[in-house]
């Protein structure tokens, strides 16, 4: 790490001057680092967003349950009353309430549209339960409900909570894997660019060796150049990526999953890690390429 830092603190010494200043590899490295950093910001945003999502789903669903009462219209009210009485005496319940017609309509609206005649449909009655942190004894409650209200069915969301949380967890893993792949791809591209630059400057390297330059001196000249290019490109890509993430529509407007893709609070600091990481990748990749090429020149 000290050697990476020395590249930025050491100034443009003689090693920096010996490499010709321009070339297509300069633009290639800058562009690659910028593109990879841009993608890395999105992968990071995906990873953090899915992490938050998994946490939110897990927490929210773990503390809620629903009772669905399906009964003939003439028995529905009586069974609902019976269910509410059972809930009133059930330990582990923080609050409960039967959803009214408007709430049922709002629930169905995304699928059936705003003009749904809820009254004309044989819909079950839903009772929403919020549990205390201690939680309820789901099996005990099910037994009591089957005795008091045969049409009532307790859904503690466990059936679909688990796959949702698992899916969010996998998405998070995919985001992290993407970051690793992006880092690897960037290292590969910069290695190739550095090798191309070293090959293009074979005469420079031969001349430097002829006048007594050590490998470390020659490598430093190229490593410094490519590390700074990697850092510069990554700074541009990260800035653009962060701007693009910030420009995503707010979650409230569209209400979908993807609109939650972004950073929250201190999460905005995470992308700032990308440029120094990119510089470290460029440093390692160029160091590797430089010593490999230098071994071929006596």
């Amino acid at each position: 790490m000290g050697r990476v830092l020395a590249i930025f603190t050491g100034g443009a010494g003689p090693a920096a001057r010996v490499v010709p200043p321009t070339g297509f590899t300069a633009r290639l490295t800058l562009l690659t680092a910028a593109a990879m950093a841009f993608l890395a910001v999105f992968a990071l945003a995906l990873s953090l967003a899915t992490g938050r999502l998994a946490e939110r789903w897990s927490e929210a669903l773990a503390r809620s349950a629903t009772i669905r009462i399906s009964a003939p219209a003439e028995q529905l009210e009586a069974q609902t009353r019976a269910v509410l009485e059972v809930l009133a005496t059930t330990p582990g319940i923080e609050s409960y309430r039967a959803l009214d017609a408007d709430e049922m309509k709002a629930l169905l609206q995304p699928w059936f549209g705003p003009d749904l005649p809820v009254d004309a449909l044989p819909l079950p009655q839903l009772v929403e339960i919020t549990e205390t942190s201690a939680g309820i004894d789901a099996e005990g409650l099910r037994l009591r409900l089957s005795a008091e209200a045969p049409g009532a069915l307790l859904d503690d969301h466990a059936r679909w909570r688990r796959p949702l949380v698992a899916a969010a967890g996998r998405l998070r893993l995919l985001g992290l894997l993407s970051l690793v792949l992006i880092g690897g791809a960037m290292a590969g591209m910069i290695t190739l660019a550095a090798q191309a630059a070293l090959a293009a400057n074979a005469q420079v390297i031969r001349t430097l060796r002829l006048v007594g330059a050590r490998d470390a001196f020659i490598a430093r000249a190229f490593v410094r150049r490519f590390t700074l290019r990697g850092l510069g490109g990554a700074l541009i890509g990260t800035a653009l990526g962060m701007a693009a993430v910030a420009a995503q529509p707010a979650a409230d407007e569209a209400g979908g999953f993807l609109t939650g893709l972004g950073f929250a609070g201190a999460g905005w600091l995470w992308p700032l890690v990308i440029p120094p990481l990119a510089a470290a990748v460029a440093f390692g990749a160029t160091q590797f390429a430089a010593f490999r090429v230098l071994r071929e020149v006596r």
Partner: protein, 223 residues
């Protein structure tokens, strides 16, 4: 300083040089002659470890060339100034920066007064800010010589240094090398220009070596 003991150099299954033995002593002056393709450049490359012998012993400043690390080779080359026929420079650096390169790459400070003096000595003071592609063939040779002596090396190896020069310029370059030899430097000049060797006769005591049939021979009496 530079010693070859029964050195042979093979490439692609064929012998380029064989049974070569020579000891370059400090302050000596040698001409290396032979027809084109005889192996003069190969011999010089052996002398600064650009190539390693296939067999035999090559000792550079008391060290076995085969056992030298890359850093030791770099260090050894700081004691040897090399002038090639096709002098290579860093084209994006000025003549002065190129001449000062041996100091820059070893992290030593450049004395600009000394640098200017050296450029004047080789007649390139006016071109110090020019870029190498702007120089003529003769100027390039002189710039290469200035670079070769910048570190005050103990040995100067010149491979056909007058190959691209007119006679007047060749004599001027020869005079510079003779002057360096008088300062105590060991000089080896590979050339097939017999007139150049004759011209040196009046100025310096030199040995003439000849590569023929892949072997090194002493060509006639010392000059």
């Amino acid at each position: 300083m530079i010693e070859l003991q029964n050195v042979a150099m093979s490439y692609g299954g064929g012998d380029l040089l064989s049974e070569m033995s020579l000891k370059l002593v400090p302050g000596s002056f040698h001409f290396l002659t032979g027809p084109s393709g005889a192996g003069k450049t190969t011999f010089l490359k052996l002398c600064y470890a650009e190539l390693l012998p296939s067999t035999g012993v090559l000792a550079l400043f008391g060290q076995d060339a085969r056992a030298m690390t890359r850093d030791q080779i770099a260090e050894m080359r700081q004691k040897i100034g090399v002038v090639h026929q096709d002098c290579q420079f860093l084209d994006h650096l000025s003549v002065a920066e190129n001449v000062a390169l041996p100091l820059s790459v070893t992290g030593r400070a450049v004395d600009h007064g000394e640098l200017a003096e050296l450029l004047s000595w080789v007649g390139l003071r006016a071109q110090s800010s020019a870029l190498p592609p702007q120089l003529s063939g003769g100027e390039r040779q002189r710039a290469a010589l200035a670079r070769a002596v910048m570190m005050s090396p103990e040995v100067i190896l010149a491979d056909e240094p007058t190959g691209n020069l007119d006679w007047e310029m060749s004599l001027r370059l020869l005079n510079l090398l003779v002057e360096l030899n008088r300062m105590g430097k060991t000089v080896v000049i590979a050339t097939h220009d017999l007139n150049l060797i004759r011209a040196a006769k009046s100025q310096v005591s030199a040995r003439v070596l000849r590569i023929a049939n892949r072997r090194l021979q002493l060509a006639g009496a010392d000059l």
